[in-house]
């Protein structure tokens, strides 16, 4: 009887995962043009046994030379930690079997590329990302004691589907982060440190969880945090050192990169609208705002770590608060980055559900999605099917309207972030939707 029930659940899970995979694979021909150029370049580089960092360096020099087109000190190419290289190397080689002479014609810096790539490239690039989504969902299922709701909430979240099927590889980094948490909770500390390191080596953000894991040991008066940090550091060094020059250039780029996305620091767009001189814009975009970004990041993260080091709450909650704080202070917060919050929100809702939290967390991804729909805009993802600019820019609003809408989304998003953080700190929100609902009921 019990066996039968288990088999039924497994079958249901299998069908759910199959459905989630089906939806994602149906969308793989949608792409962000600029990012697809990077993935295309990555595959071509790896197939030719060339480091994508070398191409990044070369393109950067060229970008500097074509300054007249745009003030680019770096070319937006492969500016990530090196984990994607071992992940995609075999897939790029497989791609090379079918397309041995494929080349990338990179666009000039700051000019939108519209690369046309074979469907096979989209499939191979998105395969690990989509599998990472399934991995996260299964981990959530296990971590919530078999809650199907948790699995569904993640697998069928519209932002998660869109980011993984059509945009970025954030789910790979998020998978390693959730895996690190899962292993840590099972006291498999070395493996947890390895998983966290893999997360950091995929995309930088999981490194912000490292102090939380270390503090967890320190709070228990254990020296194991040294071993944890050492394992993390050694694994990271093992992957980074062979690509040191390229990784350094990537970090330099990310450091001085002009603020963009869902951050109030991207005020230079307002200066641009006000016809500020190029010199003022350069100073603002490449000196002042990145410096302010670093300042906020150091201050914000230190405050949250100091606060959490004395707080008696679950590790899961601490991680959620850490990444909410990171979203508040990060100078480059693009729509796909919000994916990192979603698994942690699902865990929190499972353990301490409240109506307010549910809507705060819904608003995280809804606002990020809204920003993408208007900002990119969404129709540009269709360019794998059409190059008709009328269609690609169908959702493009007039400049002023677009600026106002995006600024409103950013402000609302940050209000929601603060409200969610305060809810976790004080146990009740500043702006309560539950209270509003009660009042409306009355």
């Amino acid at each position: 009887m019990l066996k039968n029930k288990k088999r039924k659940i497994n079958k249901r899970l299998f069908l759910l995962i199959l459905l989630a995979l089906g939806i994602r694979f149906a969308l793989i021909n949608l792409n962000h043009p600029l990012d697809l150029q990077t993935w295309h370049g990555l595959f071509v580089d790896l197939n030719q046994n060339k480091s994508p960092y070398t191409t990044f360096e070369e393109l950067t020099y060229e970008a500097r030379a074509t300054q007249g087109v745009g003030w680019s000190r770096y070319y937006m190419y492969f500016a990530y930690p090196p984990m994607l290289i071992p992940i995609y190397y075999p897939l790029a080689k497989l791609y090379g079997v079918f397309y041995p002479n494929d080349q990338v014609n990179f666009s000039i810096a700051n000019v939108d590329p519209y690369p046309q790539v074979p469907l096979l490239l989209n499939f191979l690039f998105k395969l690990p990302i989509i599998l990472a989504d399934v991995g996260i969902a299964l981990l959530l299922y296990k971590m919530t004691k078999g809650s199907e709701k948790s699995l569904i909430s993640y697998l069928f979240n519209p932002l998660v589907i869109f980011v993984s099927a059509a945009w970025m590889f954030d789910s790979i980094a998020a998978f390693f982060l959730v895996l690190a948490l899962y292993l840590f909770e099972r006291k498999r500390y070395n493996l947890s440190a390895v998983a966290l390191s893999f997360g950091f080596l995929t995309k930088v953000f999981p490194i912000f969880a490292l102090p939380i894991f270390c503090i967890e040991f320190i709070r228990k008066k254990s020296w194991k945090f040294i071993r944890y940090a050492l394992v993390f550091g050694l694994i990271s060094a093992l992957f980074i050192l062979p690509f040191w020059t390229g990784v350094k250039l990537s970090f330099e780029y990310q450091n001085v990169r002009e603020p963009s996305g869902l951050t109030p620091l991207s005020v230079h767009f307002i200066a641009m609208e006000l016809d500020a001189s190029q010199s003022t814009l350069n100073q603002l975009e490449y000196v002042i705002l990145p410096a302010l970004g670093s300042f906020f990041l150091i201050v914000g993260m230190s405050l949250i770590y100091a606060y959490l080091s004395k707080k008696e709450i679950s590790l899961r909650q601490k991680l959620l608060m850490t990444f909410i704080a990171y979203c508040i202070v990060s100078k480059n917060l693009h729509e796909p980055h919000i994916l990192m919050l979603i698994p942690l929100c699902i865990l929190e809702l499972h353990e301490r559900y409240s109506f307010d939290k549910k809507w705060q967390y819904r608003l995280f991804w809804m606002l990020a999605f809204a920003y993408a729909i208007i900002g990119v805009p969404l129709t540009r993802f269709l360019y794998g099917y059409t190059l008709d600019m009328g269609i690609l820019y169908l959702f493009e609003l007039p400049m002023l309207a677009k600026g106002i809408v995006l600024a409103s989304v950013v402000v609302t998003f940050h209000l929601v972030l603060w409200n969610a953080l305060i809810t976790l700190i004080r146990g009740r929100p500043v702006i309560s939707l539950e209270g509003l609902r009660q009042r409306l009921k009355r």
Partner: protein
């Protein structure tokens, strides 16, 4: 053992203060990096940027320049001193019929900025540059003479993109080329050079670029360069330069 236990107890007790203390250290490091940036606002601004692309085909010789405009127009001269073209504007494309005289490879490119000036909000300081391109029997050489008269910290980044056939090679003197890029149909070379300070002039003396020390020579070598042979493929050379200058004072 006891010391270890006491230490971790203290660490656990004061971890919040330690984190705040560390944040002060990080902020101080950041400020130390920032102060020079504020004092010398132009520090991060790159100056002196141009790009050229040459294409030689059976019937055409094409050179494209992306660079500065203004009063100081760079010129391209024949070895005899005759002006082939003056680069005007940010982007210039010169296309010449090359069917009868492929010796258009053979020219001198000269760009001299004798005083500081600002173009497109980029400060250009004193520098002089001369590039001599010579067509030899089986090779083309690019010889660069570069003179920076006042800058002490000049870094020149050069990116060279070169499409060539199997018979041609490109060799560099004095330049480190990235490895593992042999015999590819489409190759990019990226080199980053630190200009030796001994090349800079002292005091107010302005040296002529003609007398500048030899700096860099690029040699394009191909078996089929002689003019009576047909070009089987397009030979294209793109060179990009980025001159990064750390300004010592504001404009």
């Amino acid at each position: 053992m006891k010391i270890g236990k006491t230490a971790i107890r203290h660490l656990s007790k004061h971890i919040d203060k330690i984190i705040i203390g560390l944040s002060y250290v990080l902020l101080s490091i950041m400020l130390l990096g920032l102060v020079p940036g504020i004092l010398y606002q132009e520090k991060l601004v790159e100056v002196g940027i141009w790009q050229e692309t040459r294409e030689i085909r059976n019937d055409n010789f094409i050179v494209r320049y992306y660079m500065n405009s203004g009063d100081n127009k760079p010129t391209v001269l024949t070895p005899g001193g005759e002006e082939l073209l003056a680069v005007d504007g940010l982007e210039s494309t010169i296309e010449k019929d090359n069917s009868s005289h492929r010796n258009l490879w053979d020219h001198i490119f000269r760009n001299v900025a004798a005083s500081s000036f600002i173009i497109h909000d980029i400060a250009w300081d004193n520098y002089q540059m001369m590039q001599t391109v010579r067509l030899w029997e089986k090779q083309v050489t690019f010889e660069y003479k570069f003179l920076s008269t006042e800058n002490e910290n000049v870094q020149l980044a050069l990116s060279l993109k070169h499409r060539y056939d199997n018979y041609s090679t490109l060799t560099f003197d004095n330049v480190k080329i990235n490895e593992n890029q042999e015999n590819k149909l489409f190759v990019r070379y990226a080199v980053k050079l630190e200009l030796d300070n001994t090349f800079t002039a002292t005091g107010n003396v302005r040296y002529s670029v003609d007398n500048a020390l030899y700096w860099l020579r690029l040699t394009f070598y191909a078996e089929n360069i002689p003019a009576d042979n047909n070009w089987h493929d397009v030979a294209r050379l793109t060179m990009s330069y980025s001159l990064i200058e750390r300004k010592q004072s504001q404009e």
